[in-house]
Amino acid sequence: MTAATTSENKKKGFFSVRFRSKFSEDMKLFVTNIVFQLLCLPVFAGILIWETHLQNKQLFDRIDSVPFAVIASIAFILSLGMGFVIPMVNFRYLYNKSLVDMNYSLPLNNRQRFFADYSSGLITYVVPFLIGGIVALIVLLIGSCCVEMGYVMDYIYDMVRIFFIMIIGLILLYTISVFAITFAGSTFEALFSIAAVNVMIPLFIYITWGNIVSAAHFGLTESSVTKNYTFFTTSPIGVLGFFITYLDDYYMPHSYISSGAVYDLTEYTFMDSMYFNFIIRSLIFIAVIIAITFLLYKHRKAEDVSKPYVYKAFYYIIMSAAVYSIVTIMKMTAIKSGLIAALIISGIIWFVMEVIRRRGFKRFWTAIISFAAASAAVIGIIKVIELTDGLGRAKYIPSSLLVSDVEIEIWGYDMADNAVILHDKKIIDDAIRLNREIIDRHFEPDKYSYVLSDYRLSDDDRLYSETKEKNYDLDIADIRMIYYTKGGSAIVRQYKVPSEMLTDISCDIYTDKEFAENKTKEIYYNSLRREGDPIDYLDESHADYCNFEFRDKLDVSKSIELSVEEGKELTEAIRRDYTAMTAEEFKNAEFYSYIGDIIINSACHESLRFMDEHNIAYQKTGSELLDEIDTYSSPVTVSPAREYVFPLMYFKNYNYTNDFSYNEPSDYDNYTNECIKLDSVFNLRLYRGRSYIHYGKKKHFEFANTDAVETLLEAATPVVTGEKVLAEVQIGSITLFITDRTGNDVMIEKARDSIKIVDNKTGEEYDPDLYY
């Protein structure tokens, strides 16, 4: 027992001995790296302070900090380069016979030697960055004592989080470098392999996804790559991608707050979980790479010191991935002879590398065979992806049991401009059900029958030109669904669908407890104001009052000021209303107005009570609405008998919206297909992107029977939840709907008959129908 313990202690001791001696060897690199790092983040921190100072002084045209920014950027690039240099120096003995002898004969086992060398290099590489970060933080803190930094200092915590993303990137770069060094056979091969592995991993993932999207574009989009943890967590380039996405999706919403723009609380909540998922996945990947590297190192023999590529398989994997990328990229160009060109280019690169690797033409026929095999494998993989509809990805939807959150983004008819991320099982089920139906409509078209319109998409003239007989409206909504699985994957699907298909999911989202909670918080925080300060404050302790923007159905807004307590009470009432409201109640309720982008309707009992108690007008009469219309600048038209149509090709052929479409037939072929006649539409927002006739200053509208028009305005609503629409009322750019309810057809006719267009100068009257 004692002997065993002593032996164990000795072994541990040798690791630390090796670590210390290796770190002592690395000391010069460590100091060099510290110099780079001190010239990097602390200088950037100094620049931030200086720029803030200039902004405070309103000296916007000063560019004093540019030379320092250049120095800091160069230092940053050089410090990144240390990710190649440090491992090359630390493991250089693998390529030198004498050094192998000296290192391998020391009383160390492979594990002690590898992990000591790896750790000392890692510390040499990462610790200076940490020091740089800490110094930058100190610079910022000291700077904030001298310069009013405003909101910048609120984000120290976020900066620290971003700093850790950068650390992950550095560790990944260093680890991949050690991995490449371990399978290479010489310094040149190691440098080539480090660069190749760092580029090939993200490129391979991206290219493979490109091939899948190309083979099965139904619902798949290349943006999946930008939501793909595999892409983010497997290479420094991927980490850079995550870093940019993080700044864009996470950091930017924070800065919006300061400028008074919409603060998207749902995205904020999600990025928290994405961040930790990223950190954990990256660390797992790093651990896997370290384990593989150690196995390679352990089985690498001392006598392999002069061998070209000790583990040739990795060399051939890199080269095959290069051929795969070249062939795919050339395929993307859609040039007919692209494949031949790709093979020629790949062949040249392959054989040049083989000559270098073999140090000549020794047994060169094997290089020809290996290239032929690699090319065949690459073409085979691409073919398999094509023949299997992108490996079946287009049909794949995760089980609801596997999904933790779903992100829904709808363009055009949604409840907000931003994506919402929810984890309510009902919403997840809705998304999966909708997705399943869309997929079924594509892959099992026989299950569905459609009533076709006589409208042709290629006939552009008929689209928006209204006639007495029939008015066509192309009803296409875009929906993106991102399923975040419990395992941390993000599965992205994007489709074009008729708006009516979104009714159920949208109404369920709108009446979802989590959505209501986040949305009302968002409205509340965005309403917070401070006296005499144009900047909004997230922190309610800084706020003096709340400012809510009420908008009616004609988009006329009115600011209502409440105390912070009242503001909170109102948003709480809205939250309770929507939490209690069923989707059916939401569908059947009468629209009153918007607060922010949330609808106040007849089912919002508590909110309405609050507004009544505080004398806040939330519903306008027809007469009040009519008074808001400037008939000299806004046309008022009623277009009955609309036919909403959806191109059938979006179900039958192609259904994705990105530009990654090198195999897509021409637009002409797509747009000559049939259109489906739709029974109903769905809309929650005020705008629907209609074009409208602008009369300039020559004509204006007059109403012969104002009662009829007022009645029409009272009945018109921007909110349609899967109902048949009898007519659209266009007031300027605002589109309101008259749904198919009793008496509405008569009301439409009365209103239409009372609308006249009158020449401003002559007083001559025109029939508005002429302009439909």
Partner: protein, 309 residues
Amino acid sequence: MIELKNTVKNFDSYTALDGVSLKIDKGTAFGLLGSNGAGKSTILRLISGIYSPESGEVLIDGEKVFDNTDAKQKVFFINDETVQFGAFTLKKLKNYYKNYYTNFSDEIFETLLKKTGLPLDKKINTFSKGMKRQAIVIIGLACRTDYLLLDEAFDGLDPTMRIIVKKMLVDAMLDRKLTTIISSHNLKEINEVCDTAALIHNGKIVFCRDIDDVKGSVHKIQVVFNKNEDGSVPSYTKEDFAQEGIEILHYEQSQSICFIIAKGDIDAIKASLLTKRPMLTEVIPLTLEEIFIYELEVLGYDSSDNIGE
């Protein structure tokens, strides 16, 4: 004790060691002899745990040496290249090795340093080849390992320094029963330092014996034959003597005088020669180098043939 049991070591398709078995007792000064590429350095690298054998075992005091820190603690290997830590000073190099070898003796280091007169604070890449060799030898000795392996130990040393290094080795062997394994082409030095030697050829052990035994078992005999009755000189071939039971390594006849290099008991060889009624038989002492050359000649490694090519 160091043991190699049926050790095979391949470098791709080339077999460097082909079933080598060897035992080196503690306190032995062991010389490894062999032609270039015979496998001497491979044996040293196997013993020092740098290489792992394909089959067979390499044991130090009964423990497998590869990847075994305890076994490697007992061995210090000095390879045929000069020391690699050029940017280190000797002091730093000493501290480097001192951390790894727990028995490191500063006292021995200081003593040997005085003997060699090497500068302690100069960078090693300013040293000459011989100085570098001295530096690593004194560190190797100061590490006080049980086994010291020297590949081409005396390369680059001037004659005086050779004597000093040899003396250092011999002192260590006498003081603490250091086992030294020396591979060298300089057989004179092996002869001077080692008590046991092994000859390796094409990855196999040709012999492994006490050097005195080696010398005693191979003899160079000068024989002068009487002329025949018709006045002619008798002509013999190698086979004529082989029939007499003499193991001939080399045979050379010029007129009535011939030189025989033979293996075996000298008295038995002399007795066998008597059947040829020699006028004179004289045993001439052989150097280790000559034994090396004649042994390898038998195995087809003939210098005269190679030169002829």
